[in-house]
């Protein structure tokens, strides 16, 4: 059972993801260089946060055509668990593995602070360790995190239970004040139709120890390790 973490030029949360898996959970993690076509038999793939290719053109637009993405897309289309965090979420949307897009934050500011998100559904490879409805505290750090999609896409996401994380307030309600970037329906994370591809803007890897002021994100990696075992790896 091995978690592969893709490194693009400009990825900067790759090390954090590796440590969440290898140090906090004692699992096996490996880095995957974007120029290769080798997933190294990883059972779960993570596209980490950062600023791949300097966010040139659009966040994630260039990384989406990196050599390794051909294998990542094949892996995802074959049902393999793929997680995209922040810039990784943007890459997944650009690769059309997830619907919608992430636009400049509504207030044009870069937001770097803890937020609360509610776990909406637990039947994904990255949320199975949580209870539905649990409110997690995790940091966000992005300038382009406003989730937008066509009205029919949004309706479909809601009806097919594919909104996985939603920005909420202290009482767990998705209010306008709790929405840091203007995302439609307070959406912080979604999954693919097959539920195996998940993208979210908050950083679970930055919330895996009390030293980081929250351990709420560790469940994402605990879920991933369990999913990889289930996949027979």
């Amino acid at each position: 059972m091995k978690i592969g973490i893709v490194r693009f030029p400009g990825s900067n949360c790759d090390e954090d993801c590796h440590r969440a898996v290898s140090e906090v959970l004692q699992g096996e993690a490996t880095f995957l260089w974007h120029k290769t076509h080798d997933l190294q038999d990883a059972d779960v793939i993570i596209l980490p946060g950062g600023f791949s290719y300097g966010d040139y053109l659009r966040a994630g637009a260039i990384a989406r055509f990196s050599p390794i993405m051909r294998e990542v897309i094949e892996f995802a289309n074959g049902g393999g668990p793929v997680l995209g965090v922040c810039n990784g979420f943007q890459v997944l949307c650009e690769a059309r593995l997830l619907p919608g897009a992430l636009m400049r934050n509504q207030d044009l500011r870069f937001h770097c602070h803890p937020v609360r998100v509610r776990v909406e559904h637990t039947d994904t490879p990255f949320t199975s360790a949580y209870e539905a409805g649990r409110v997690l505290t995790m940091p966000i750090a992005h300038g382009e995190g406003q989730f937008v999609a066509q009205a029919d896409t949004l309706r479909d996401l809601e009806e097919s239970r594919r909104v996985i994380f939603r920005y909420v307030d202290a009482s767990g309600e998705p209010t306008a004040e709790a929405n840091p970037n203007g995302s439609a329906n307070n959406i912080a994370g979604i999954c693919s139709a097959g539920r195996n591809v998940v993208g979210l803007m908050p950083h679970p890897e930055r919330a895996v120890s009390e030293l980081l002021s929250s351990e709420d994100g560790i469940g994402v990696f605990r879920s991933a390790l369990a999913a990889g075992v289930g996949a027979g790896g």
């Binding site: 053109l57 637009a61 055509f65 650009e94 919608g100 897009a101 044009l108």
Partner: protein, 102 residues
């Protein structure tokens, strides 16, 4: 005009391509709105809706303008624009040669 013989012996023209990318109509444009507010703050009256976008310019070799335009449209759908959030407008014209510029 700058002509060259390609391997297929078809005459090739160099086209100057401009792609103008703007937020898709109906999608909020916070950058444009902020510029509009700043213009109003500076006392400019009568400024309508402001859109902020990007301009991508490059030269492209093609046999004719139609095929250049078709190639650029494909480039836009694939990479240059994100059709979920952006509209694009393409301008293709024969590139000026160095002689013409001088």
């Amino acid at each position: 005009m700058s002509w060259r013989i390609s391997r297929q012996e078809a005459p090739i023209t160099i086209f100057a391509v401009d792609v103008r990318i703007t937020p898709r109509s109906g999608i909020l444009d916070p950058v444009g709105e902020t510029i509009g507010r700043a213009l109003a703050d500076l006392g400019y009256e009568g400024v309508g809706r402001v859109h902020a976008g990007r301009l991508i310019s490059f030269e492209l070799e093609a046999t004719d303008a139609d095929s250049a335009r078709a190639t650029v449209t494909e480039m836009c759908e694939k990479l240059i624009a994100n059709p979920v959030i952006e509209d694009y407008a393409i301008r293709v014209r024969p590139a000026a040669t160095e002689a013409e510029i001088a």
